[in-house]
């Protein structure tokens, strides 16, 4: 009997731990028309755990910071905002499920994961409930009104912009031949390479070889062998992948003596990557992303930094947090102007442009996909430290 008790105890423990990860989860019964009194619930279907957690957790910090700021300024028409996140666990089925639960709890909008594959299902649930769903930095062009519905947005530029900006940057740097490595993990990694290659070839560049690998099954030896077997040394390497394999691949390539410049997208914007590469390998790497931690790049950053530091007691590390902050600011502005009706909020978001920490943002209407018109911040790595080079919008934008 005693052993059975212990076994039950272990199961309870596991269950408890799994539930703990659904931070702030207090599911309520009676889902029809929940009256939340004097507060407005912003639902979060973001990932605390799993591979997407590394992008969502900084964004969530930005969300909470913005919520605190909006509330300190009196909330929305006297109602306080409450952010309620349920861990979507980097799993699409869970994302849909938690979004539905949040809708049941009376959420007026849903903030999804920063990715189409992981965040899209939550946006669909928001669409079904007739409320706005928005992702802080999902950049796949699939994340828009065409695939998800007329009340769904991403605050991020699309990969069309992200790929095109880096193609123009590389070509402008005198690069003519490329070795492209694509992680076939999610639509983000695949479509980013696709748009990059399209733009680079349109400019007159040549892709010597396109290699593919799968996140979690990285075979650096094979990729390095393919690189070395190329008919000529390429001017640069374009890698579209995700942490942690992204870091391993760059480090292994550098260790193997491959010192060609490396270009990539916003997945590079991770302090863990800079630290991993360090002074030895952290050079000659370029990427574009959503923002940069400096007043020079982002007017108002110093104020943001001070507020962030006061709330969390540490420096801003990943710029992803600013995207989370922006999401709440955009939602609050819409709610202040037109109330919490999903259709009205979506219309307001389509019709206006927003000055964000991640740059000026202007969405197209629902018929053209809620395409975000936004600039990309370009960075490079010098001795393991990221350096801001400037904002850019591409001259040629590929069709999504």
């Amino acid at each position: 009997m005693k052993k059975r008790m212990i076994m039950i105890l272990v199961f309870v423990l596991v269950l408890a731990l799994s539930l703990m990860s659904m931070a702030g989860c207090d599911r309520r019964e009676g889902s029809e028309s929940v009256d939340n009194g004097d507060k407005l619930i912003i639902g979060g279907a973001m990932s605390v755990t799993g591979i997407q957690g590394s992008l969502d957790s900084p964004a969530m910090e930005g969300v909470e910071l913005a919520i605190a700021e909006v509330n300190a300024a009196g909330g929305i028409d006297g109602k306080m905002l409450e952010f309620r996140n349920m861990d979507s666990k980097s799993d699409s089925a869970t994302a849909a499920e938690v979004a539905k639960q949040l809708v049941d709890q009376g959420a007026v909008a849903i903030i999804t994961s920063s990715d189409y594959d992981f965040g899209g299902p939550a946006a669909r649930a928001a669409q079904e409930a007739g409320i706005v769903g928005i992702s802080p930095s999902a950049s796949s062009p699939l994340f828009g009104s065409e695939m998800l519905g007329d009340k769904q947005f991403t605050l991020s530029m699309w990969n069309t912009t992200m790929g095109a900006v880096m193609a123009e940057k590389a070509y402008g740097d005198g690069m003519r031949t490329a070795y492209v490595v694509t992680d076939d993990f999610i639509d983000y990694t695949k479509s980013l390479s696709r748009y990059f290659v399209e733009c680079f070839e349109k400019l007159g560049g040549e892709v010597l070889l396109e290699d593919v690998f799968s996140q979690g099954r990285l075979d650096t030896a094979a990729l390095i062998a393919h690189y070395k077997a190329l008919p000529e040394v390429p001017d640069f390497i374009y890698i579209s992948s995700y942490m942690p394999d992204l870091g391993t691949l760059i480090k292994e390539m550098r260790t193997a003596g491959i010192d060609s410049p490396i270009y990539g997208g916003d997945a590079y914007d991770d302090p863990a990557l800079f630290e991993l590469l360090g002074e030895d390998f952290g050079n000659d790497i370029y990427w574009d992303s959503h923002s940069f931690n400096s007043e020079e790049a982002v007017p108002g950053f110093n104020e943001y930094y001070a507020a962030y530091k006061e709330m969390y007691g540490r420096d801003v590390d990943a710029p992803w947090s600013m995207a989370g902050y922006d999401v709440v600011m955009v939602l609050s502005e819409a709610m202040k102007e037109v109330g919490t009706d999903g259709a009205k909020m979506a219309k307001y978001m389509e019709d206006n442009s927003f000055e964000c920490m991640t740059g000026t943002l202007d969405w197209s209407d629902a018929a053209s996909g809620h395409e975000p018109n936004k600039a990309a911040a370009i960075m490079k790595l010098v001795d393991g430290k990221s350096v801001f080079l400037g904002w850019a919008t591409p001259e040629y934008l590929p069709e999504p």
Partner: protein, 300 residues
Amino acid sequence: MSANIFIEFVINVLSMGSLYALIALGLVFVYGICNLVNFAYGEFITVSAYVLYFVGTFTDLPWWLVFLIAIGSGALTGFLSELIAFRPFRGRSLDALLVTSFAVSIILQRSFQLGISPRSRAVPVPDFFNINVSLLGVVTPLRNMLLIGTTIILLIAVLILMRRTSLGIAMRGASENFVTARLMGVPANLVISIAFVISGILAGVVAIFWSARTGSVEPMMGSGPLLIGFISVVIGGMQSLVGAVVGGYVYAFIANMLSLTLPSSLLSFRDAIMFVIVIAFLVLKPEGLIRGKYQEERVG
């Protein structure tokens, strides 16, 4: 195949194979004694990798001491998990033990995610790990050579332990027939504890070389080596330590061979092909390349 590519291939197989052999050995040590497929083994590796990260980043201790502490933490994790989680279920059904190992794995993973961070952390490694050395005209990181050397030393140590010490003889006895060994006076608790500790030590060594390659640690990192360990033991044989080592090298050979010969477009199917080979082994040669002496079901 040019000479350089061949030498590079051999070095890759030997270094990767060494790592895989160590991973597989850690799994088989526990399986051999308790008949338990320990799904928490990957998390033993993750614990050591996190210790490497914390001690290496936040203290100024010399690298060898950091390594020793990391290996020690692996051993401690092995010891404690056996004491707290597995011992209460010993003698019950194997399913209970299996489920327990899942539970330990999930508890540890979730603890890393919630207690540390879901984001990856850069693990500092001593500079000499990344120095390139030239061997017969092929440039390779020094850590590959260190890995091969370390594995040889560890394998010899395990060999001496198992062949020359009374503890080793007791363990071999226990792994061949646990009930009889107990009747002969082999202390069950001690033998099983030691098996978990050795498994933990191997996990610690694996953590050093695995994170030196990837450069980072994150909560789910254990699943990669765990899968490799399983495949290696399926190929080599679940019942024998030699089989685990052979399995590790064979796996590395097949994986590298596929990497070298598959065209880019098929490269992402490499693992699918590996799994087909594993299934073939399970169907055609379920006992693996090396047969253990006793194949019957044991009761722990």
